[in-house]
Symmetry: C2
Subunit: 524 residues, 2 copies
């Protein structure tokens, strides 16, 4: 990476695919990771933390492929403070035009206690691992995990060691979401002032939102001298999540008068990637989420509409189009042609080949027959629903469900399982229970349903519904999704989609293998 | 109100029922408002802003009844800067042991332009209206709306006028969510230092979360000398919402070391009221919402479980029980008795009379027959589903739905409409569309479906589903909810629930009346 010589430039380091993806239940498929990485690269994110290569074959492969594909972004992988992790990380990121190794160790008293290292032993370990990383890669980032709860003297000492060993970025994580803005600014300011060598490297801030202050803490760190913000789309992440990329980027734009720093992110790409991350992670964004919530710009709707002041600025500090939120368009009806569909999909960020277009066009026509008006959101849902379908081992062929207040619901499902046609009928408490039971009869499994939710894609009773299903089996979690105007059919397809993903994971892990991935919290 | 003589005490002013309730779609019924007010009072909120009495008969009645019921909280109503609003507000709040009138006017250049008042004319209006309010009530709060975008000199001038006219609380609203922590602290500090009389009154902070910094801005204002935080449960509110009560309360607890102020709020009541507000407003809380999100304390679940460090503190700065989050309990099965049910409901915050218990017990038994394990969440959903049912004009008697991939779905619905039994059959795109069409055939209406969503109440395929439906008709919005193990039945009941609420509103408004409520944004 060419470290910016512009003193007011703040680098955006996105960790949606690493810290975001490790939230329980937010696991993404390989294809989804590549897609999100592509969007991040395209929108001008400076550094993409693509994963934790030692964690599993899947993580390693995803980081490697993202590294190969990246056009402009630095591609970074995470490694604990040991040679094995760092070597594996380098093997994955080295394919990038601009690779980075990010290695870390927990430096607070609570974290030091776990590997049972003395302060001196840990300092020595930091020196060795950062040196090793730097021998492999010019661009090394080091993090003292739980920095905000680490004793000042020790923090300053280990930061200095990491700088001397060759780290070009020092990240100061508020791992537990504990800090407040004044502290956050002071900590960075003091590190820059007092640690020898600090003036030659970039300080990064990595905040969590446990007390609701991640955005303010990140911006305060920048005021204190940090020039890299670590964040995720939609604030995805464990517990209350990480700093939300969309919030820091827009705050720096809107309040440039008092925060005279800038990023390289194209904010008009925010809404699109926000929707994609919400969909693939299965973590919906709440209506009143800043910047990307459904209501974020919606104060003019509803009962106040007539009485609203005409001047939008009176109550609005950003325009919806600044973050890429455009009016939902009636894109086309049943007479629209294939070329028009391809154009529209291109505008929505989907480049499709001829074969894929053929398949999508058929499904688009089916939808246009059932639904008078086809909106952007419908096409996005359509694109999602089709994604993994072709090679899936389990497929729904047809189904019929009867339900109501008169007794148990009954579902008859016909499925293709590895090419074989099977039909079963089951009863259950409601249509969804009956449907899932019939599927389990056809394809016996122990998967536990952790999450089931349905959202209408657009308004109106003929809207498509997007169903998300999260299954857990033997410690593996998979989320499935489907969109259909029939919520019960969408439920069946989402459930089968999740089962297919579990099958892919199990195949990858191999028979008898330990399926548990390594966590960054496993002390190395 | 006895204004606190404890200099470190921060008053919590909750405006869930005023600023929160006016978010498009978050409208609550009279009964829901009373219930939420009761919970706020019980949890130690100092001031409850119960509504905007001039807005409608409904608002007036809600504020009046909340005022009569309040045990400990000050009850406040909102009024624009005119005699009519203030008189009406006083009529409603005067029933409280401790009433407060909150009057305001927009003081920024953009807001001054709308009533087309000169600075002097507006200053005179402020003097008159605050004086009038103070003649009615000892406890008067005044707000310069859009204070953070008001010229300093003018702000200082009008704040002084309001203090001299008798305001005992001056609230400084960041109406558009524009400010940043350092600014927020400085503004309050400067007002206290420079405005004559400032030392004798309480300054309040009222932030919006448009840039994701409402919590940090509120706490910074306290550092600057404010001693009242205006906030809402779950950060409910227009656009990105208001400051979240749960975040400021917990931040002050967790970081008492650097923020040595305290509130009177019992934090262990947070989860219960958060769930209730999410339910009655129809605004779900996202998984990664700080403090109250489903994942806020969930870092130990999922794939990292085995590898997790044993010491919870390592990654946790609060304990789930600090905010009243207890493990989901298997409360009882089908053999549990009525007394046990009443006890359990009491623990969940529902005090039920004998008649209500009888009704709930029947539905509990029905649920226990269908579902092996009945959890706290199931009982909460059950309580919700049963509300309003008795006097509803529209009721579902029975229904049968057939759906699947073989053609259009078909729904046959039997309903009681004002006591008359009607059955109709309709086909549609999926079971929900067919069901809603059949209901519209039975009870013709123009209501537009704005929102449809389904969430499983607990895990497992036999879980109950909670369906939320938001309808809009002639500018009126109503949200309906229902829980059932059958999502299609729950959808029908939620739709009918919303229709019943629209009927209640229409009846209240009366034939031919202008149904639009007055908004605080309507310039008076």
């Amino acid at each position: 990476m060419t470290q910016s010589i512009d003193k007011d430039r703040v680098l955006i380091f996105d960790t949606t695919l690493r810290d975001g993806e490790q939230s329980p239940g937010a696991t993404m498929t390989h294809a989804e990771k590549l897609e999100i990485a592509g969007l991040l690269d395209e929108m001008g994110v400076d550094i993409i933390e693509a994963g934790f290569p030692i964690a599993s074959e899947g993580d390693f492969n995803a980081v490697s492929e993202i590294a190969r594909n990246a056009q402009n972004s630095v591609i970074c992988g995470l490694a604990r403070a040991n040679i094995g992790d760092i070597d594996r990380c380098w093997e994955a990121v080295r394919h990038a035009k601009q690779p980075r190794i990010h290695t870390f160790i927990g430096t607070s008293p609570l974290h030091r206690a776990i590997p049972n290292l003395t302060m001196d032993e840990m300092a020595e370990r930091i020196h060795e691992t950062v040196t090793h990383a730097r021998n492999l890669c010019d661009n090394v980032q080091w993090s003292p995990m739980d920095a905000t709860r680490t004793e000042w003297d020790y923090l300053a000492r280990v930061v200095e060691i990491a700088i001397k060993a060759g780290a070009s970025t020092i990240n100061i994580p508020d791992t537990v979401g504990y800090t407040a803005p004044v502290e956050s600014a002071d900590l960075i300011k003091r590190l820059i002032a007092e640690v020898p060598g600090a003036e030659d490297i970039i300080f990064a801030t990595h905040c969590h939102n446990d007390l609701g202050m991640a955005t303010a803490n990140s911006l305060a760190a920048v005021a204190g001298g940090a020039r890299q913000i670590e964040c995720t789309i939609n604030g995805l992440g464990e517990r209350a999540g990480n700093t939300a990329l969309e919030e820091v980027v827009m705050a720096l734009k809107v309040r440039h008068d008092i925060m005279p720093w800038h990023t390289g992110v194209d904010a008009t790409k925010i809404m699109n990637i926000s929707r994609r991350v919400a969909t693939v992670s299965g973590f919906p964004v709440q209506f009143n989420k800043a910047i990307v919530g459904k209501n974020a710009f919606a104060h003019e709707s509803g009962i106040h509409q007539d009485g609203m002041l005409k001047n939008a600025e009176t109550f609005e500090i950003m325009r919806p189009e600044d973050v890429g939120l455009t009016e939902s368009n009636l894109v086309m009806g049943k007479h629209s042609g294939r070329a028009a569909l391809r154009d529209k999909l291109g505008q929505l960020g989907y480049e499709v080949g001829d074969n894929q277009l053929k398949d999508i066009f058929v499904r688009f026509k089916e939808l246009a027959d059932r639904k008078k008006e086809v909106y952007d959101e419908d096409l996005i849902a359509l694109m999602r629903a089709g994604e993994d379908a072709e090679n899936d081992r389990l497929q729904i062929v047809s189904m019929k469900v009867v339900c109501g207040t008169g007794g148990p619901a009954e579902a008859t499902i016909e499925m293709e399982v590895d090419g074989r046609d099977i039909t079963e009928t089951e009863t259950g408490d409601g249509p969804v229970d009956a449907t899932f039971k019939a599927i389990r009869k056809i394809h016996p499994n122990q998967a536990h349903l952790q999450l089931y939710q349905v959202h209408a894609v657009t308004e109106g009773t003929d809207a498509q519904a997007t169903v998300s299903v999260r299954l857990e089996e033997d410690g593996m979690i998979a989320t499935g999704q489907s969109a259909n105007t029939d919520t019960v059919v969408a439920s069946a397809k989402a459930y089968v989609n999740a089962l297919n993903r579990l099958l892919v994971r199990r195949d990858k892990a191999g028979p008898g293998s330990d399926t548990r991935e390594i966590s960054y919290k496993d002390v190395s």
